[in-house]
Symmetry: D3
Subunit: 266 residues, 6 copies
């Protein structure tokens, strides 16, 4: 969220209800629901990092296509699922069932307005499986709506090697990737003097080694066991310029998703 | 929300986790959780009106006391309970149980940081009884924390007669009160050309006659039955100057609540 | 409950099913669901006080109109929500969700009989916000039924100053108001030798000062913190004569609600 | 319920909280929770029949032992589970989960007072498996309390052949058994002019043939499929004298249960 | 389960979907859902005893009729409800609500294929009341389907006296009955060297005295309080020959249930 | 499941409770919970394919290590989540919340026996996000246990290109991969005469293209929209020999996971 709520032309929040129903009734209309979190992000990033980033990416994608197709973005659902971060502090987290219920409630009432497609756009690793699940639980109940879900940073898989400075392991929680995006979008919220981070220890060959090298094995662990600072990776390698390039490339990929969805439902 | 998320010094969102746990650990610390909604507000106000206003009032109150006592405000929970507005469109609403679960989840994890008091500050009529209820369900589980709840506009009861232009009935949904505050805080989001509103019909002597004359009888009704436009009251009497005076007086009352809570828990 | 279950002509309990469906099918039929509680009421009142009183008031109102319009009263739902009274003992209390579910279940099945209106009539402060909420959750599912809710003693606001002996603070839990009604209706259950009560301390200007001066601020607190005896206010000022006058005036107000509801739905 | 709520010395409802906690704290104290229902009972019995009977039986048993051991009876939970009776009308029924939650809530808060044993005493066939289940769900959470459940008319198995006039099939819903008890306890609520009833058709050798010949096979069926009147069996054979004898014998058996429970927990 | 999953011609598991929908669409089709458990069974029987037995009995019954009528058996739901066995170990148990949800989910989706009747066939005492309950909750939602429930060993009541060696008390948990069946069906899983068992103490005249003499009173108790070994009764009296006779007689009774159900729904 | 339940030495089902608690108490003990499904698998594979395969793979992995470390495998939870397959028939599916509850219940009671690690081993795509989620919900409640989750076929990513015959797209639902494994493990259940399958249409660049080329975008769609037969890919390319090689390689990878888990927790 880089602007006050309701300021951007792609925002549901700032419109009147008849503007929304008009847009939703247009052919091939798409709704984007950003899903973020508020959880510890080390000593250099604010706790709302995931919410700020996913909101910005969602609006970037929407802005790219808004002249061509009807699209709207709800306020970000910031009440994410982050039990593994609670022990470090600064974390506001719903239980799995409550977050699922919240997303279903938002979708259920939003779809009454007539959208043809709905994309949950997630910004927090701890929400990823849940957002995948809610795509199904909402989809079952709305066979006539195209229901999609994505964790936005997974869209960077194809190009990340071009833009990263760090080796595998450098892009993890509050690492090079998130820090770069925040330096570009909200530099005043980055404490560059406190860029502490630990390295990721991975005991499992099939486990997670990086945001972009996540093996098939899911391992539950309190974050405090991984990291004293709350950050993992190489935030110190991040730059605002890199953040800008990442952001624009993410916009490209999200634009592609939105255009392909529109093709299908229009 | 008059600023980008995380910009104000009283915001949880913009801080690092250790800043939050430090503040929460101070003597007599207070957390404010604004609870808003996204629902139709007639043709002249945006759907996020209640969220925008409650967030602004909560931060105003917090700002008044932040130099004297430790206080923090979470992002507004904008996923309110508004079933009666759904049929008009533009409404995103959780079921009763899901909103209760969301507020409990936010409170539960927030309180782990060590706050001595928690105030749910609600901005939407449809949430009012639920916010009163959640004060109890959270309070039961946290006997050592002072748990409070208020619907912010009820704090205006004592002074509203000094500031209103309309007779009883003029301050209802999207009426003079909310319009004045929005003209002061976010005038660019008010469509002054479309200030349509109906009058409130009340069939019940003990029913609601105005935001500030709500009788004991609760009547459930779809909003569409009351109002074609989605607004009720006298929005056309509202002015930005009046909005500013209302806003400051609300700040006075909320400041009083926060100071009295601090007295009790410090 | 001043009679054995099923004795009064306005009782659902004592009728056969076809008597009930006949009545429910008449034009403008109204069902009243009393909601009480079983919780400590100091040393001088029995734990079922709220259930006894709300049942009596509901039947008084119904009796006033039963010759003119079809009305029926279910047995009182006595399983209220009283977590704040548990520590003193004698309290049987459902969790918030369970009581909500119970009221919804009663309403759901009752409405299948064909009533045109449903009034939840509550007698316990701890249920008040929940009964307001259930009016909405039932109303949403029954757009063709007029769904109403009221906490009966709030109907006394307009006339209470004429009848009270105490100053503000005297009518609180097990205080002058409830004691007077019980002295009138069930004097054998009032232990006039043990009319102990504490004064209400209110730390908040916007908090509760009396049953009839309840500010906008909800404060959760275990009752034991307020009161050693379990009673607050001035029960010693109550008389049976006063109780009778209160009872009749409550009947007037409830009669008004029922007649206005009938007007609307017939 | 043959008396106004709170009139009998074995009633929780009519006592003050300290009387209850005193009794519960005595050695070998027992709480009885009657569970009834409100559902159609043919054209000759009132819908609250099961609640009236189970309440009366529970207090009879308790009265038999109250001089020797500490025992108390809560108000009857009348919100039973009767989905199969809904289509005939006059039925107020909770869903399975909601009734389970209600009984658990009552037990949970009641046991805080210090009882050594808890007996759910059920009076409605549709509740029987659920009351058996809740004995387990409450028992698991209270290993130090003796948790018991019984459907009271099953206690008559051993002696019913001595007292019945009808052959197998005559004692079914609103049949000879229930009619006899009601003629004894609440004759003014029995419409002896409308004693219509159908015979039970049982297609299954292992199915139900009578209240006292219930085979192992559970068959779900809407009551309307069995019976046009809502009653099955031979109500016309019932007499008040027979009802009195049944009642006293039921009292004997329940007394035995209470004394054996007391032996175990004292 | 005496064969690998999917091996028997009466198994849902081993068929393709079109084979299933073809069978379900035939006139008078019946689905059997076995419900077992995994819980301690003393030192001589495996923890899956109840699942193995109920699965075998269900297929025996189905095999008896499969040439005459369309019948299919799902895999056994082995996730039973056994809280009272947990403390001894080896027990996998769902909570009451979760098992209910699982059975409802299986039934709901199975019935979409077009079956005319559904029989829950239970093999575990701890599931018995729940299986009776689910018959109702599923039946309510499927008025056009014949929904039945049975705990298979209750079908042995009529003939057990012909086949038992032990007196009352010998056929209890992991006693003569279950041991005999396992010696017949899966002898390699019976440890005949460790046939330890305690006698059942019953403090209640109306309580349980044997699997085939279960009084009306339900008593919750941790199994460890009854039995050090985890077994009760007289397993040492069991023989494989007896097990075979029991098994065949159970098949007779289940066949009868299936044929009567088919008569009703075809 | 290639053997009758309880036949294999790595099975929980066939052991007595004390064998289980002994094993669980050993240093570095691991429990594996296979999670399968019963859903349509085209015209050539049985509906229990996923359950059969995941059970076999889990026991293969366990058998590889059972001489070196304490490991046990529960029966497969076959009640999976497959809403998208329901319309084709043959599908038994739990709702999301019910399956989550079932897995949590199994884990909760299993862990009481003293295991140091728990691996949910999933075999069905529709369960994948849910199994990832349950790893978290169980992990939060058991900080001292290593809680892991994996969808077994994802373990084949590293070697699949060596063993596949088909191009991308050939290994999808009931395609080359699953058919090969079934031809190896349960050839009698494969109908080689009916190997019909459609090609996967993917409208999304970021969507799924193959079991081993699943992009970041989740798309909900009823299976019937993809495929008339219920199968997608190239089952006709599968051979039993290939199935054997796949199976052994999967065993290698699962063995690695188990050994690494044991290293961590012993």
């Amino acid at each position: 969220m880089t602007e006050p709520l309701g300021s951007r032309p792609t925002e549901w929040a700032g419109k009147t209800y008849s503007e929304i129903t008009d847009l939703a009734g247009r052919d091939g209309s798409i709704l984007v629901v950003p899903v973020g979190s508020v959880e510890q992000h080390g000593h250099h990033l604010p706790v709302a990092t995931d919410t700020i980033l996913v909101d910005a990416v969602a609006h970037l994608g929407a802005t790219r296509v808004v002249d061509d197709l009807p699209v709207l973005v709800t306020p970000p659902v910031w009440t994410g699922h982050s039990p593994h971060h609670r022990s470090l502090g600064g974390t506001l987290s719903l239980g799995h069932e409550d977050l699922l219920g919240a997303l279903e409630g938002v979708a259920e009432t939003a779809l009454e307005n007539g959208f043809d497609a709905l994309l949950f756009c997630n910004g927090h690793g701890g929400n990823a499986s849940l957002v995948s699940s809610v795509t199904g639980t909402v989809g079952v109940d709305h066979p006539d709506v195209e229901v999609l879900g994505v964790t936005y940073f997974h869209l960077a898989s194809s190009f990340i090697d071009d833009l990263r400075e760090s080796d595998v392991g450098g892009m993890a929680h509050a690492g090079e990737f998130e820090t770069a995006l925040m330096l570009h979008l909200r530099p005043e919220l980055v404490d560059t003097d406190r860029m502490e981070a630990e390295e990721l220890e991975s005991e499992y060959s099939h486990g997670l080694h990086d945001m972009f090298d996540a093996g098939p094995l899911t391992v539950y662990r309190e974050f405090r066991e991984y990291s004293a600072s709350g950050a993992i990776g190489a935030p110190e390698l991040a730059t605002a310029e890199q953040g800008e390039r990442l952001f624009e490339r993410l916009g490209d990929e999200l634009e592609l998703v939105l255009r392909e969805a529109h093709e299908r439902v229009r």
